[in-house]
């Protein structure tokens, strides 16, 4: 069975639709959504409705910091853009959409796989897995062989051997990587809705539970349409919309 791992959707309808379509054509029957459905993008309502429908079909759905931010109001550690985007997003969502976001768990565990937005050692603190040290800390904090998390917007693969040595790897899209079972793996599929590694194409990953192969994917989508939708969004400050649209275009 193949699970599509999708994270950091950030209300980007065009990117999410392209990724869902791509994943289904690759044979994904199961979805794991790793948080941050809203914030930054122009279409939070549509994205949340899709996520809710997927969850009803059995998808794993965990909460991200932006989702909590929208339901609880912005947190003091957020930067100005994030704060403004969250306040705008809150105004776009219905009561039931907000209630759905508020109901999401911080982490899910299933068949040796941990699904969590930021890390395993402090899921609600949202510390970033920026390198081997944090990856090791996260892998030590779970019994699960595989950890799938988002929060970092660049695709990355970490591994920890039985002898305690950690390694990192910047993946190449489209190449299957066997995640051998005698070490622990931490997978960051990269951002679907706001890539930041200089490549504007949407990122996600596919994990085949039977062959234990992981394949990172990049899906080109209509960035111009997503940017235009941001600039056309009513109520979003023009300067902010422009900055967000520009980030999408250059993938930063």
């Amino acid at each position: 069975m193949k699970t599509a791992l999708i994270s950091d959707l950030h209300a980007n309808r065009q990117a999410f639709a392209a990724v869902l379509d791509h994943a289904r054509r690759q044979g994904a029957l199961h979805f794991a959504l790793l948080g941050d459905y809203v914030g930054y993008g122009s279409d939070p309502g549509w994205v949340v409705d899709q996520v809710r429908a997927l969850r009803e079909d059995g998808a794993i759905v965990v909460a991200g910091n932006h989702d909590l931010g929208v339901t609880q109001g912005p947190r003091p550690t957020m930067n100005d853009d994030a704060r403004a985007a969250i306040l705008w997003t809150r105004a776009q969502l219905s009561e039931s959409q907000l209630a759905f976001l508020a109901s999401l768990p911080m982490a899910e565990e299933e068949d040796d796989c941990l699904y969590v937005h930021a890390n395993a050692f402090d899921p609600t603190g949202f510390a970033y897995v920026q390198g081997r040290l944090e990856a090791m800390r996260s892998l030590h904090a779970t019994e699960c062989r595989y950890t799938f998390c988002g929060h970092m917007h660049e695709p990355m693969l970490y591994h920890l051997s039985g002898t305690g040595k950690a390694g990192d790897f910047r993946p190449q899209p489209g190449v299957p990587i066997p995640l051998l079972p005698n070490r622990q793996w931490l997978v960051i599929p990269g951002a679907c809705g706001q890539p930041r590694d200089g490549n504007p194409a949407a990122a996600y990953a596919l994990f085949d539970h039977d062959t234990e192969e992981l394949t990172f994917q990049r899906v080109p989508y209509d960035v111009e349409a997503a940017a235009a939708a941001l600039r056309a969004a009513s109520g979003l400050p023009a300067g902010l919309a422009d900055r967000l649209a520009q980030r999408l275009a250059i993938g930063r």
Partner: protein
């Protein structure tokens, strides 16, 4: 999620197999028939599928199972090396690697099932060294072809040695044991694991000694060690047993092969010592470039390497030792990056038939290609038409001088470019092919020598061309590599009046 293989325990905790494997035993649907080989790191079993219906389509070959030998509890080197091979082998394809079939879970019983290659390794040939030169050269060509293929698949083997090379009856080779290999697109499990250089002592490249694990030129160094050993019967760097001894190759050069066996030709020594250069950027830049020289010894440009009869003196050695102390090797960004920047470019030049304007245009296109790719290798090729039937002595003598004249003309054509780009140290060779059919000769040369890109000229259309087809059209349709066809620059419709100055500078040198 592992419902395909129901086991009594939960899928996350398979029951380990603790008793030694026995003939007749069935493991994950594979029947162990006989143990073929007991090695230091792994045992090889002949296996077959318990129910042949399980075989995927196309699996019509015999199978072996490679099972790691774990010595006295946990041995990180063999465990991680085996994991690396389990990860890398499925990513490789083509005739130079065994086909991957299945892998076994470490927590139960680790193994790899793969295609059984019906061939012996080159290891026994080492005991027969020195081998006849033709044989050594043929082995070198075949291994270089296999390396070209693997390097293009973004893999550097890093443990090239006779025991890892299987020689098929048809002379082609299969490379095995990818336990130390590095693939651009797969995590390097070995990188962080060990604090000692990884490789086999006699064959390890200087940059491997310095922990570089992604340079395809490391495999060319190891192949050079093998060619040296097979042709002289001696190891160029002995059998080092410590890191200090390993580091000696950074500053002590080997005894030149011709000092051991004076009958070896200078071109062969040139090739071997070119492979054994300490700095990777002074070696052949790709396996295809090495294969080209091994296949065309007469075109190998001889440098001081070819004529050396003793190692460098103590002063030189001391200087190198001193420089090697703080030296960091220049590693490429990746295997793929090194392959991409080291193409073999073939300029097919009709020095006698083409117009000066076309020759100049052709040279300009080749010059631009060579300038953008500092690792590129240029082969300038001309074809001398011969009769299909044998020649008598008189025409043979004429043929010789004709051949030499063509060579001179080719070099003259290339000269403005080679001077400007300072193409040196084997980056440039000249070849005059003798063949009845120009197109066939060019296509065969490109295929055999692993040319990446052919650049050739095409004259304006003529009546004969319209009916018979042009050489360039034949090369474009039949060559498997990229072909650039350079057209004759447009000429003014009316010839200029006789007293006007020339329109373009002269094409002569």
């Amino acid at each position: 999620m592992n419902d395909a293989h129901p086991t009594p325990a939960s899928p996350s905790t398979p029951v380990p197999i603790t008793t030694p494997l026995q003939p007749g035993q069935v493991l994950d649907g594979f029947v162990l028939e006989a143990r073929l080989h007991q090695g230091g790191m792994a045992n090889l079993w002949q296996v077959r599928r318990q129910s042949p219906a399980d075989a995927p389509e196309g699996e019509t070959f015999p199978l072996i199972m490679k099972v790691p030998r774990i010595k006295g509890g946990e041995d990180p080197a063999s465990i991680v090396g085996f994991e690396v091979e389990q990860m890398i082998l499925p990513a490789l394809k083509g005739p130079h690697v065994p086909r991957f079939v299945a892998r076994g879970d470490w927590r139960r019983q680790a193994y790899i099932v793969m295609e059984r290659i019906e061939a012996d390794s080159l290891r026994p040939r080492l005991d027969q060294a020195p081998l006849p030169l033709v044989e050594v050269v043929e082995i070198g060509i075949q291994v270089a072809h296999a390396l070209t293929d693997l390097h293009r698949q973004h893999l550097v083997h890093l443990d090239i040695k006779p025991s890892n090379i299987l020689l098929r009856p048809d002379g082609s080779v299969v490379l095995v044991d990818f336990g130390l290999s590095r693939h651009d697109f797969l995590p390097d499990l070995l990188e962080e694991e060990f604090s000692l250089p990884m490789g086999t002592g006699p064959y390890m490249s200087p940059e491997q000694v310095q922990f570089v694990r992604n340079d395809p030129r490391s495999d060319l160094f190891a192949l050079g060690v093998m060619l040296y050993h097979l042709s002289t019967g001696e190891r160029p760097f002995g059998q080092p047993t410590s890191v200090r001894q390993l580091r000696r190759r950074l500053y002590v050069d080997p005894i030149p092969p011709r000092a051991i066996r004076p009958e070896l030709p200078p071109w062969f020594q040139e090739i071997v010592l070119h492979c054994l250069e300490v700095r990777a950027e002074r070696r052949y830049q790709s396996a295809a470039q090495l294969a080209l020289d091994l296949q065309r010894p007469d075109a190998v440009p001889l440098t001081a390497r070819a004529h050396k009869l003793q190692r460098s003196g103590l002063v030189r050695r001391f200087k190198r030792w001193f420089l090697a102390l703080g030296e960091e090797p220049q590693a490429p960004a990746s295997v793929g990056a090194q392959v991409a920047r080291s193409p073999v470019i073939m300029a097919a030049v009709d020095v006698q038939g083409a117009t000066p304007a076309l020759l100049e245009a052709l040279r300009e296109v080749v010059r631009r290609l060579m300038q953008t790719e500092p690792g590129a290798r240029l082969a300038c090729v001309g074809v001398m038409k011969t009769n299909r039937l044998g020649m008598d002595e008189l025409t043979d003598a004429q043929g010789r001088s004709h051949h030499v004249q063509q060579l001179i003309a080719l070099k003259n054509w290339a000269h403005p470019m080679t001077r400007e780009l300072a193409l040196e140290d084997g980056r440039l060779t000249f070849h005059v092919l003798e063949a009845p059919d120009t197109g066939d000769a060019l296509i065969e040369f490109a295929a055999k020598t692993g040319v990446d890109h052919v650049v050739m000229g095409a004259r304006a259309s003529s009546v004969i061309r319209r009916y018979l087809g042009s050489v360039s059209a034949q090369v474009v349709t039949q060559c498997t590599c990229s072909v650039t066809v350079v057209r004759e620059p447009p000429q003014p419709d009316d010839p200029p009046p006789p007293d006007s100055p020339p329109i373009s500078p002269s094409a002569s040198n």
